[in-house]
Symmetry: C4
């Protein structure tokens, strides 16, 4: 069937975005809200991120003279007030990622509005600027939240997987993610007895990522990598990321960009070509 | 022990069927029936299938001048009315796959009859033809359903694993599947916290599939591959499928066929040789 | 610390036993006892074993002129009465494996005695001989059952993992197993939504098995492989087993034996050297 | 961002500690406390450790003229009274690891104090010395327990992951662990139906460990390996460990040390440089 091929700037055949979800303790805090927490184990694991992992990642980006897109939950920005100024100063993009890393599909629209407004205020307090980028915690979204993001001046969302190149959902630009390109699903291990699997091997993840990269070159899509400092800041993962980026760097036809740059390109050139509706589905039958 | 070797047409030593279960949102809809759904995440993942993945798969089949066997749930045919006419026009086989992707072992016989009749009517409305092929959702079957399929003129079922070549169950031709040759078990990931494992590596799945293919060449069986557009339409999976098909194509003794062609061959040549009964088992002891 | 090295016959440095648990539907029957079962899916999967898989395995053993040790649940011997006579005629060892594949640690001692007596009677009815070998379903054992096995003339058990060479537990010879050398943990997949993982890759399992084999050559232990006809009779698994056995066959210092031969060797030469007690452990503290 | 690089003695760029958690039956006992236990299966698996596995590990360390750090639960020291004297005599370091392998975050501070005092008394009874090293069972810790360790003269803890080199938490030296360098998460399999995954392949684990080792050489951290005798004493795992150690041994810039030596180095040289607080986190919001 005749289909449109996504158009990238100039002679580029695909795009590469290095995105970072700076979660630190926030998902742990959300998942344990209202419950007593006695142990330091997972907290210390997660604190490796703001102590060390985040900076190993920015050092790695510097090796490649690349800029990343960092999504920071409000509570992390408040607890580690050096993070947002540091990332801004280094020239990286920053955006919203909830306040307590809330699962948006579990909240009412009013609760989601309150969380969004609180995280916008926090972002402004730390950066002096209005946020333009949004990535939902755990990559969920609701139709009402799409509308809220638009009315609050958010330029794009980066949480959905309905295409593997940019598109628009209810008129909001979507810079899509993919679970297969997330680090946490392969490398998160709490050790508290609730894990459903252990660590993937570096070579095995390299294979998953490289095959997706080569596929995006062929199909002309977006290779959106997502990392977490407490996970990908670990020594072996920096090596894996370097190996991946070294592979990507050998090609001239890959556009290394931030998510913001990709969104701007999409809005300027193809905003009406790949439009979908934020429809839920009938489950009463 | 002396056993019959399955006979394939002419000098072929085994058969290869490329089958596609065009599920889109239907299993999600069934699994969430009666429950409120607020999130767009998995829905957008699944909608990649009818938007893009299905056509990447038919393009891939075109590369090999091959025809596939596509099983389409009724609700998907209704929601995306272009799909059944498109597949028919392209010369692919199409068949039934439930209406809402119902798990047939959880329904009463009357409920299964109603679902079957509704999906037959839907199929006829979209294609103008009576369906001849059935694959059950999630690859289950009941003795009563076997009987219903026969009385409604269905020529074969493709849901069971009692042999690795065609056989008959209660007189209905069975073109068997295998979980090891399904894409979803390796590559489905919802990300909603209920996943029991993450993505397999492409090289690892290639190894599972190639070993099974070589085994079928040795034992003279059926290599029945099953894909889903929202899963195997993803860039890296098209690459994996191409690699697999390129490997298979190098042999002259493999019969590339649709499931319908395999069923017709079986009925014409060996319908009485591999017959089993649709017996349940005593669990009251 | 000075430790005894296990002594094998002549100049052999380790032993290789190919064991087969001929489960067919029996574990499914046990796990679903008292519950209604409507679906044919897993039953047809399991019936591949007695239809085809068992004979592929004996054919493979014939390729290597080797004899296996086959443990058959009573209900399987009754449902497929050709199995025990066939295996005996082919010169393979046969032994007990419960009646309905009961989990012995979930039964009272009296229940275990009744099951054991029923499975002994079934074995005698099919073979005309008293059984001498026992492997418990799911590889559990209780102190009382150890005693019952001895009083009923069972020569050895093959269910425990307290050493990786033969030993005695409460005076009963133990020919030990290992989960790492079982096929089912890597290759069983029901597809009914309860699976905790999917299929391992053949190359990956080869690596696990070869490393264990090389380790047993080094440490002088027992390489006890365990297969199931409905699992390892599948085409790709026969290839894997052939590859493993071809590797093992290249060495002259490996004793290919049945479990019965290993037990007899142990009892004759080292029965008092590696003795342990069938002690449970204090959990009231 | 300017960060301190961890300083190792002389010209060493990283450190390697071989640690062993001598659990035997203790975690099984703790997890089943108050429940009846009828089966011998997992007990026999675990008893392979004190019977055989422990000594294969010390033999392996002897091959490399290396000393390990062994953490022994009190109940294991009491049940196998030869263990602590043997390890001491061989020149290995020994330390505490709970009494019944208790999960410290599930106990009250008073209960943790009682367990700690009991395990200290047990250690002294078997060694004649006061313990100086602590590793918590299952690698958890509470703020109160950190304080208790200090007041009882424990020199360091080895249970947390807040850095990948030594640091101090509330003034107690921490010699950090990593789940990715634990054997149990890859190779523990009970077979009782509760396992969430099966055995990893030796080659796959080698890849995870080697990549982490190379990463620690690059970042100047600590490669803290953790093994269990009932798991890593198995034949194929000794081979894997030997392969790993052979790889590490080829470098001159790796400091092979016990955890005690690493702790002493840290306290003497950088005790105030990497200090963190044992803070829990607000979950009432």
């Amino acid at each position: 069937m005749k289909r449109y091929k996504y158009q990238w700037p100039g002679d580029k055949s695909c795009a590469f975005v290095f995105s970072v979800d700076v979660d630190a303790e926030s998902p742990f805090q959300w998942d344990n809200r209202g419950k007593p927490v006695a142990g330091l184990g997972e907290l210390e694991q997660r604190r490796f991120g703001p102590r060390e992992g985040l900076y190993r990642i920015t050092d790695l980006l510097d090796e490649f003279s690349a800029k990343g897109s960092f999504f920071v939950p409000g509570v992390v920005a408040d607890r580690y007030p050096e993070i947002l100024p540091y990332l801004t100063e280094q020239g990286h993009e920053t955006g919203l990622h909830g306040y307590y890393h809330e699962r948006v599909q579990q909240l009412t629209p009013d609760e989601n509005a309150a969380v969004l407004d609180k995280s916008i205020a926090t972002y402004q307090a730390h950066t002096g600027q209005a946020p333009r980028a949004y990535r939902s915690p755990a990559w969920e979204l609701t139709p009402e939240l799409v509308a809220m993001l638009k009315t609050r001046g958010i330029v794009y969302d980066s949480s959905l997987m309905g295409y593997d190149h940019p598109y628009c959902i209810d008129g909001l630009a979507e810079v899509p993610v993919q679970w297969v390109l997330d680090d946490a699903i392969y490398f998160k291990f709490s050790g508290n007895g609730t894990d459903a699997w252990h660590y993937a091997s570096p070579d095995g993840v390299f294979n998953r990522w490289i095959e997706e990269f080569e596929g995006q070159r062929e199909f002309g899509g977006l290779f959106m990598l997502t990392c977490h400092p407490w996970i990908s800041g670990r020594a072996q993962r920096i090596r894996l990321l370097r190996r991946l980026m070294t592979h990507i760097r050998q090609y001239d036809d890959v556009w290394w960009a931030t998510a913001a740059e990709v969104a701007a390109h999409h809005i300027a050139t193809q905003a009406t070509r790949f439009e979908v509706s934020a429809d839920l589905i009938d489950t009463n039958f």
